[in-house]
Amino acid sequence: MVSKVRFEAVYNVAFALPFVRNTMDFFPALKEYFIMHRIAKFVSEKRNGRYAWDIVIFDGPTTGHSLFYLQSPKMIFDMLKVGAFARDARFTYDTIVGKDTTTFNVVTLAEEMPVNETVQLIRNAKVSLDVPLGMVFVNMINRSPLANGLGEKLKQAAGDARFRQTAGSFLGSAPAAEFALEAAAFQRERARLNQHYVDKLLKEEMRYLQLPFIYSRNFDVNTIIGISEVIRKGLAS
């Protein structure tokens, strides 16, 4: 009986056919859906009567596309309504999307495009997604090195010939002093822009965790430990 054919077998037989592959390739949501289905399999996988994994973390696609992934199971079962494929999509939805054990977290940068996309994503997710929203991690935030009035002092120094002469003399040349001033002004302005975009983000009602830019020549395990420590402290507070 057709109804007894196991669904994975259906996939295997069907996918071997070129015209099925062409059809799959043509419809963008199908690829996204199958990735979500794979995640659902991880979540529901059991070994010796227990769930195989305590937590499954899905490092999703770029911001603009992530909602599409999470919406794909619902999009498919809404369209198909009945049949094995619809049931499968329903399983995927029930396992990861429509479930309060899942949280949808956003990682972004405090820059124009990522922040605009994140704001849009949060707004869309609140309206159209059944996944509980978790946190927004704002990564690589530059803090101005010129806090507590030092910014004004820098401006003053930049216009002071005596400062330039003394600094140039110590640093080895007039251009060296110029570059030190220029690098500081750059950093101050980027930090100001970062703050501007963080402020824009904070207008959206969400839980946020701000992570500093970490200066490191190599992105190695120590860097990861450093970041995870900041996250741990941030979550604890």
Binding site: F19, N22, T23, A29, H65, F163, S173, F179
Partner: protein, 396 residues
């Protein structure tokens, strides 16, 4: 293609690809702007729904049709514009609707498509996805013959790859697709899908398909694809033309990236795909490059070099610097200036190392242009001019 200048002079179509947030839209606008300055009639098409391009060009908004950028706006910045500049923003849904209205036999036929369950439940957003509609728009803009240069800003890298393969996927789907043929058979159109299906039950796949998708969906699918039936040849022909265009020397792909390792990795992957697909790769624009100050100073000697390369302790250098500045009242600036410089220089040197990898990847005739990391974002024509001056500076 040794320079962007040569690219603008020789190409008729430029497609900018790269990761998100690296300045693709701005680079696309600058390339089109430069073509207009040089006397060409250029159009830039973005798929970025943010208002950045409109803002940069001093326009209130961009729509799904090319709109001229007023010459006087450009001339106020001192641009001597000999040609014309147009801009548009791709709207996938509207483009699909326009195509359906244009190519269906009647208004009634078009309404049949729009009213079908499949279209309403999501097919419009799938078939109308940016990559497919970008193919259609690219076809329209190039075939119209209205423009000397068409500049297309694409979705971020992964989806730009979807864009590159979009014509192939469209052609494959529409060529001898048994599923499509099945769905638009007269027996199915007559609404007797289930019974006709039983007649074909010897075909194993069709049995499986009926189980997987349900006969209700297949009937709805049949109505939808039948309503679209008159459009397939057109879709296919246009996709084939764009397939050919993607390999034509009158087109050039420009990779836009930043010196960040992850975005460079994506750029390298994309470059390998262009080579694999035999598509004309013209060069790379690297935005947001930190200036290597020590290099500009002629070497890493002196206190700044000592500090940046860890030859002396930061506290020790700062102490001496502060002592020199104390009489002027700037001693508290000393540690901050030095630490900041060391951090900045580290980023510049990381950029440089990453860019060496890029130079190794691009070893042919292609250009690599660097644009500095500016202290502020680019939001207006003055910003475009600033980038233009870097990208199109006369080469030694």
């Amino acid at each position: 293609m040794r320079s962007l200048e040569a690219l603008v002079r020789r190409k008729e179509v430029v497609i900018c690809v790269g990761s998100g947030g690296v300045g693709k839209t701005t680079t696309s606008a600058v390339i089109a702007l430069h073509a207009a300055i040089a006397g060409k009639k250029a159009v830039v098409c973005t798929i970025d729904p943010a208002h950045r391009l409109a803002d940069s060009l001093g326009l209130k908004e961009l729509v799904n049709e090319p709109r001229p950028v007023p010459r006087e706006k450009l001339e106020t910045l001192g641009f001597d514009v000999k040609g014309e500049l147009y801009a548009m923003m791709l709207d996938g849904g509207k483009t699909l609707e326009k195509i359906i209205r244009r190519y269906t036999a009647s208004e009634r036929e078009a309404d049949r498509v729009f009213n079908s369950v499949i279209y309403r439940e999501g097919a419009s957003s799938l078939i109308g996805s940016p990559e497919y509609m970008a193919v259609e728009v690219l076809y329209e803009l190039t075939e119209s013959g209205d423009y000397d240069l068409v500049v297309l800003d694409t979705p971020p890298a992964k989806h730009a790859l979807d864009f590159l393969t979009a014509p192939d996927r469209m052609v494959n789907f529409l060529t001898d697709n048994k599923l499509l043929n099945l769905l638009i058979r007269p027996t199915v159109k007559a609404g007797s899908f289930s019974s006709s299906f039983v007649n074909w039950a010897t075909d194993r796949f069709m049995v499986i398909l009926n189980s997987a998708l349900s006969s209700e969906f297949l009937t709805a699918g049949s109505e939808f694809f039948t309503a679209l039936n008159g459009l397939y040849d057109g879709f296919k022909t246009r996709a084939q033309r764009v397939q050919k265009l993607f390999r034509d020397e009158k087109l050039g792909f420009v990779l836009v990236t930043s010196p960040n390792k992850l975005t460079l990795d994506e750029a390298a992957y994309f470059h390998s795909k262009l080579v694999e697909f035999r598509m004309p790769f013209s060069g790379v624009v690297v935005n947001k490059v930190h200036r290597n100050y020590l290099k500009a100073l002629g070497g890493a000697e002196g206190p700044l070099g000592d500090l940046a390369h860890g030859r002396k302790k930061a506290e020790e250098v700062a102490l001496h610097f502060a002592a020199d500045l104390k009489s002027l009242g700037y001693d508290d600036l000393a540690p901050v200036l030095l630490e900041n410089f060391a951090n900045y220089q580290m980023l510049a040197e990381i950029d440089e190392k990453n860019l060496e990898r890029l130079a190794y990847m691009v070893r042919g005739e292609e250009f690599i242009e660097h644009v500095p990391y500016f202290e502020s974002d680019i939001h207006d024509l003055a910003g475009l001019r600033r980038i233009n001056d870097y990208l199109f500076a006369p080469k030694a």
